[in-house]
């Protein structure tokens, strides 16, 4: 006991730990934040091929500006404590009793500052969600945040076990395994499924939307750079989930026109067999053998393929109501 009291008197009036920590934290933050913003920021995923991709990148970087100082600050504190306040070193003053049990000022300051950070993140996130038309996320059948652009190219993404196909309603509704997207264009991806839930993740486009059967999940983005796009399924959908990927391209408007028109012609015979274009399709829940549900209502008929009500192309061009 006497040893400890000696320790107490020896270290009384020690260094100002708070000030040291604050200075170190400010210095580290002042170095790390700009370093990240300027050196790493422009390379952060998912790149800037589209409005939603660059939006996601910007948001990521902004959040990093807050996350880096917070993380490093907490680690700094713990590191400082581990180095300086060890029992084996004798440590500093022993603070038991009421003073060590709480400090109204610190607690209030902590709560206030975390609240401010959190609310700022919320306001920022909401603005970044609403202004760029849903930020590339699936908004369901009735999108409430829509692009300002007058011309929107609709592309339907159909998920099925286990591939994605794409229908272009403004080009006769042909269906293809390849995703082609024109540059400098606002796209409305209408994502749906013919069986279980899939998820359309066009990584470089910054677009992600679940593909649900009988549901039209709409996601918007505007392209502004040419390049290759990786599409992956991002919702576990069975055995080939991991192999459910393909590649797409953002190409110039003229190349796209040529590609689309030639596909429209070449695939006309297949297109004729497809159900009329529709935002959603009613798949037969029973499958080819027609047996899961015993009432034969869904018995796989030769007429009922995956079609539903046809929609006019006019509707298709401007999908938002």
């Amino acid at each position: 006991m006497s040893d400890q009291q000696a320790t107490v008197s020896r270290t009384a009036g020690g260094p100002n730990h708070g000030a040291r920590l604050a200075v170190a934290w400010l210095v580290i933050s002042a170095i790390v934040d700009p370093l990240f913003w300027f050196a790493a920021g422009p390379h952060m995923p998912p790149g800037d091929m589209t409005s939603s991709a660059s939006g996601a990148q910007f948001d990521f970087n902004v959040l990093m500006m807050a996350a880096l100082p917070v993380t490093l600050g907490v680690w700094l504190y713990f590191g400082y404590a581990i180095v300086n306040w060890r029992a084996s070193k004798g440590g500093s003053d022993l603070i038991g009793g009421p003073k060590a049990r709480g400090n109204m000022k610190i607690q209030t300051a902590w709560i206030a500052s975390t609240t401010i950070v959190v609310l700022s993140a919320f306001v920022f996130g909401t603005v970044e969600l609403i202004v760029p038309a849903g930020a590339g996320g699936g908004e369901g059948p009735q999108p409430i945040w829509t692009p300002t652009s007058k011309t929107v190219l609709p592309i339907q993404v159909i998920g099925q076990q286990w591939k994605f196909t794409y229908r272009y309603p403004t080009y006769g509704g042909f269906e293809t395994d390849t995703l082609m997207v024109p540059n400098n264009t606002t796209i409305a991806f209408h994502v749906t499924s013919l069986d279980v839930i899939h998820d359309f993740w066009a990584y470089q486009l910054g677009v992600k939307a679940d593909a649900n059967p009988q549901q039209d999940n709409v996601a918007f983005t505007t392209t502004h750079a040419l390049g290759k796009v990786t599409v992956r399924c991002d919702e576990l959908c069975g055995i080939w989930h991991g192999a459910m990927f393909n590649y797409g391209h953002v190409v110039s408007k003229t190349t796209f026109q040529q590609w689309a028109s030639s596909n429209e012609t070449q695939l006309a015979a297949v297109t004729k067999l497809l159900p009329p274009f529709s935002w959603t399709y009613t798949a037969d829940a029973n499958g080819a053998d027609g047996v899961y549900y015993p009432d034969n209502v869904d018995k796989y008929s030769k007429i009922q393929v995956y079609g539903a009500q046809p929609v006019s192309v006019a509707q298709a061009v401007k999908p938002t109501s």
Binding site: M1, W110, G137, V196, D210, G238, I239, G242
Partner: protein
């Protein structure tokens, strides 16, 4: 006559026989035990299969695919009933129902009690330790299989179907384990001792929860022979409806474990509210108990949603209803909402007990009272409340109406405020303290390190625009491994190293413990940190093929995962060696804790307290010269000179001398 302290020191429990044959009240082989439970399970399973085949073998779909889900579900369900009947879990209610008086509760002796349905919460706690370790190591082996497959982007070690079954099994086993890893073993053992009670409110219910938990293990393990299931632990319908027989094991297994969780939750709530000793006011309650109160509320309120949702799934698969099949009038969103309405509180079921454990460890090893105790307790309750209002952040891209998205972004981000309180209490407690780097303290500090990354990455996930990129990717996967494994599992091991000396009366080998800690800490971070990057670079979860350019990071993660797994081998060796093979007695209070649970002799008597103590103070009066006694027996101890051997429970900073009193205390050992 008083119990002699020194004689009780070093007397362990498992693997030990009573001193004389007379003490052995019955042979471990007689009566009901795990062996009869297995027999019951097999009998019930066979009966269920028989009934199911009689009912449904004529169904059109069954005739076509020869997959009788009715038989599977009934077999598994009756198997669980047989398991409970076999172990004797239902004896009491059955006897009461038929108007007979059950035999009075007796103190069980010998190693046989660890294989029985028992009413001693300390025995149930030890059973739970082995149970959760079994779950944890099974899940860990499955994780090794998953990581092995991911060594190569294009050549495959397992088939793709086997791979998703392994992923699903890993996730489900780990989630089941994580619901109980602390609330089962550590809480079950400690709640009565920490609040000054002789028992849990419902000892039979506690044991029932444990045997349901183990039944859940058996049920979920049947998934693999049934062909596995392809849905991951989230079980999304309609893939769930479409899946082969292993899906029934998932649905029944979660219902079984879920029922155990609900009963455990109610038991904990009732015990904490009603069984506190006189003077154990709400403001004197250990912070661990506060965390358990919050967790138990979540267990009791959130889990029924899972069980109900699973029941709908079972009906879809057996009776051809269509709760989750869109084309037949159901909705796949229904499962997503029901599941996550349970699933997100579930995440906090897994986080909060970890916070509680470190809240107990920090004061002891810093020699300071817990900073901001009230804020910490309020934070836990706040997290529990808010956790019911965040579930749709799992569905940001799902196609549900987007208008609630900002709200769920707000609630999700708000939850980081009460979570931040945990950091406030931790950092405040460390301030100008005297840290003793014992093994439990290292684990507690590691939790703060890991959970920070988990929590901060959670803010990125909550931001809807960023969520577009990171949702469903390895980023999420790394995020929740940082919170659950980096938080909860680290807290569990910290708690084990902290409380095992009290639970078993044995000292764990410090060198092996340190090796375990450093391997686990380093390789945990090496395994999961690269996965944040892998996710950001575009690798979705649960895939067996990925981009060539990500192979380096994936391989680094896999090799680290092997090392991480071997850290658990070190733990197992340590556990087996120090507890069973070559035990060294532990002092009654090796860390110099002021906690009520540490003031008891080792081993703790059957009824914990011969007289219920009267509580005078909270257990955090560290570093005070005139610390009050925490209960009415404290004074007796101090005057008898036991203060030294108890590691300075008397106060005055004596706790910091514990490094010496560990050796010096029970000098007669």
């Amino acid at each position: 006559m008083a119990i002699s302290m020194h004689e009780s020191v070093g007397l362990g429990r498992p693997g030990e026989t009573p001193p004389s044959g007379a003490d052995r009240r019955r042979s471990p082989w007689l009566g009901q035990h795990i062996g009869t439970a297995l027999v019951g399970a097999v009998a019930g399973y066979a009966l269920g299969h028989f009934i199911g085949n009689s009912i449904a073998s004529g169904y059109a779909n069954v005739q076509l695919n020869r997959q009788n889900n009715v038989a599977t579900v009934l077999a598994l369900t009756l198997g669980v009933v047989g398991w409970l009947l076999g172990v004797g879990a239902l004896n009491y209610p059955i006897l009461k129902l038929v108007g007979k008086e059950p035999a009075p509760e007796i103190e069980e002796k010998g190693w046989g009690r660890y294989f029985r349905f028992t009413l001693d919460h300390k025995v149930v706690g030890m059973q739970y330790i082995i149970g959760v370790l079994l779950f944890l190591f099974t899940g860990g082996l499955l994780a090794m299989a998953v990581r092995t497959e991911l060594l190569s982007p294009t050549t495959h070690y397992f088939g793709p179907g086997t791979y998703i079954s392994l992923v699903s099994e890993h996730g489900t086993v780990m989630m089941m384990m994580a619901t109980s890893i602390i609330t089962g073993p550590i809480a079950g053992w400690l709640i009565p001792l920490m609040i000054g009670s002789r028992r849990m409110a419902f000892p039979r219910v506690e044991a029932f929860s444990f045997w349901m938990f183990t039944a859940g293990y058996l049920v979920i393990m049947t998934a693999l022979p049934y062909g596995g299931f392809p849905t991951g632990w989230t079980g999304y319908a309609p893939l769930q409806t479409q899946a082969v027989g292993g899906m029934d094991s998932y649905l029944v297994g979660f219902a079984v474990v879920g029922t155990g969780m609900i009963t455990a939750g109610f038991n904990i709530i009732v015990t904490i509210i009603n069984y506190r000793a006189p003077g154990m006011t709400w403001s004197r309650l250990p912070i661990f108990i506060w965390s358990l109160l919050a967790v138990a509320s979540l267990l009791a309120l959130a889990t029924p949603t899972l069980v109900t949702g699973g029941l709908f799934g079972i009906l879809d698969r057996t009776a051809q209803t269509a709760f989750y099949v869109n084309e037949r009038g159901g909705s796949a969103f229904l499962w997503q909402n029901l599941f996550w309405f349970f699933g997100h509180p579930e995440v906090y079921i897994m986080a909060l007990p970890g916070f509680g454990v470190v809240g107990e460890i920090l004061p002891v090893f810093t020699g300071k009272p817990l900073f901001g105790y009230r804020v910490g307790a309020a934070g836990m309750i706040g997290v529990a409340l808010l956790s019911f209002f965040v579930w749709q952040h799992h569905l940001f891209q799902s196609g549900i109406n987007p208008d609630m998205r900002p709200l769920f972004m707000l609630t999700t981000e708000l939850i980081s405020i009460p979570t931040g309180f945990i950091y406030l209490t931790g950092m405040g407690t460390l301030w100008k303290s005297k840290i003793r780097f014992e093994v439990p303290m290292l684990f507690a500090l590691a939790l703060y390190f890991n959970f920070l990354l988990g929590g901060i990455s959670g803010v990125f996930l909550s931001d809807v625009p960023v969520n577009v990129t990171v949702h469903g990717s390895f980023f999420v996967m790394a995020h929740f491994h940082y919170t659950i494994m980096g938080g909860l599992v680290f807290a569990f091991f910290g708690g084990l190293y902290y409380w095992l000396p009290k639970m078993t009366g044995k000292t764990l080998n410090k060198k092996l413990s340190l090796i375990h800690f450093w391997m686990m800490f380093i390789f945990f971070n090496c395994t999961f940190f690269p996965l944040f990057i892998v996710g950001l670079l575009g690798q979705p979860r649960r895939v067996f093929e990925y981009a060539q350019r990500l192979q380096g990071l994936n391989d680094f993660s896999t090799i680290s995962a092997y090392m991480l797994a071997s850290s658990f081998l070190v733990f197992t060796a340590n556990f087996a060696w120090s507890i069973f093979i070559d035990p060294k007695p532990a002092p009654a209070n090796p860390w110099g804790s002021r906690g009520l649970e540490w003031q008891s002799p080792t081993p703790v008597p059957f009824h914990n307290f011969d007289r219920i103590p009267v509580i005078y103070a909270d257990p955090y009066h560290y570093g005070e010269v005139d610390a009050p006694d925490i209960a009415d027996f404290d004074k007796v101890w101090a005057t008898a000179g036991a203060g030294a051997s108890s590691g300075g429970a008397g106060g005055g900073g004596g706790g910091f001398g514990a490094g010496t009193t560990i050796e010096g205390g029970p000098s007669d050992v």
